[in-house]
Symmetry: C2
Amino acid sequence: MKPLGTLYGLGVGPGDPELLTLKAARILGEVDVVFTSAQASTGKSLALEVARPHLRKSQEIVPVFFSHTFEGAASREAHRANAVRVLEVLSRPASAAFLTLGDPMTYSTFTYLLAALRAQEPGVPVAVVPGITSFAAAAAAAQIPLTEGNETLAVVSGARGPERVESALGLAENVVILKSYRHAEEICQLLDARGLADSTIYSIACSRPEGFTVQGLDAVPRDANPYMSLFVVKGAGPTVGTP
Amino acid sequence: MKPLGTLYGLGVGPGDPELLTLKAARILGEVDVVFTSAQASTGKSLALEVARPHLRKSQEIVPVFFSHTFEGAASREAHRANAVRVLEVLSRPASAAFLTLGDPMTYSTFTYLLAALRAQEPGVPVAVVPGITSFAAAAAAAQIPLTEGNETLAVVSGARGPERVESALGLAENVVILKSYRHAEEICQLLDARGLADSTIYSIACSRPEGFTVQGLDAVPRDANPYMSLFVVKGAGPTVGTP
């Protein structure tokens, strides 16, 4: 078998280039090739922008394409094609980093790529460098605990509507809602109906210069773009309404 | 009012000194005073050990004491006394960092200290620097996703027994169990009874030289010390058992 370089699944954190780990910054400067997950529609990569100050001039940057709207077979085919592309690079041999915003193991395209890579080449050398999540950054910016003592923290996707949010509110004192996208309005209505509007933090790209964090749903700007937005709901949970 | 220095709630990450953020490393080198949360029983601080390579020789290091066994009034009194001590330092004026393993907003003593500080001095200048959590590090080491797609991630405390674990298993595909302490045995029995023993990752201080991560409860060493241990349970959730 041809020797393969190592692929690093590399979390670049929530957006502030200073919120990379020392390890991520070191590896970015060492690898031969950098893969960035670009939006198929725009070709832009915020992860690459965050990583840029840590790259050498000579590094090869290779965009790989994903779309959040891919489903089922189209999505599997995109991951398979990206895995082929990554394996071609590793077999030069060359080392490479695959950049992800936040953490590579938390709602990231990296885990799909990793599964597709292993399906094609089970022994592929991989290392994962964890990153700061958007919700850890939002809690830090708002200076509110994500979870304390014996409380539960639930992290849910709002991409399919408020159903997951609703079940989480009954279980966990603290609920983080990511990927609310076009269901943001329904989710806000649900939080409002539960009396949780004032204790909810809303945040968009909070560690970026253009980002912000507000307390209370009334403070959410009407024209807020739900991409990269998140909610941190405090004060929910199984003991609400019990004496 | 006397001017106060800024207090930084500073996450040093899961144990590997390279898993600090660039921001945390910079601030550690800049502050006048470093507060470390020491175990009352041993006086040791792993957070300080992790931060040490980033400190200047001239920095003042002040241990503050907490005990995980403190409850109710004793705990409140300890946080109040620590807040007095911190405010004394800030009013010199001096800047200070309060170190926490992992992330300052995720099951950390910092959030209690912050509440006690604000009760005494509402305008105290505070900034929070997020850190890599132990469970993000464990998932990275085991190379398993913490959560994907539209799945839910629940992070629970096992300190009061398996009750929170049980309710989380019905809600979330992915369940992280921290603070299992003396309930580790019961929690393992519960996971086994649910058929989740093989898909559970067990990890202790995985980013430290003495740490490790294993897949499957059968692989957990009999003499494992549950301090700093955690479980990542995969394959639970609302759809288990439904066609």
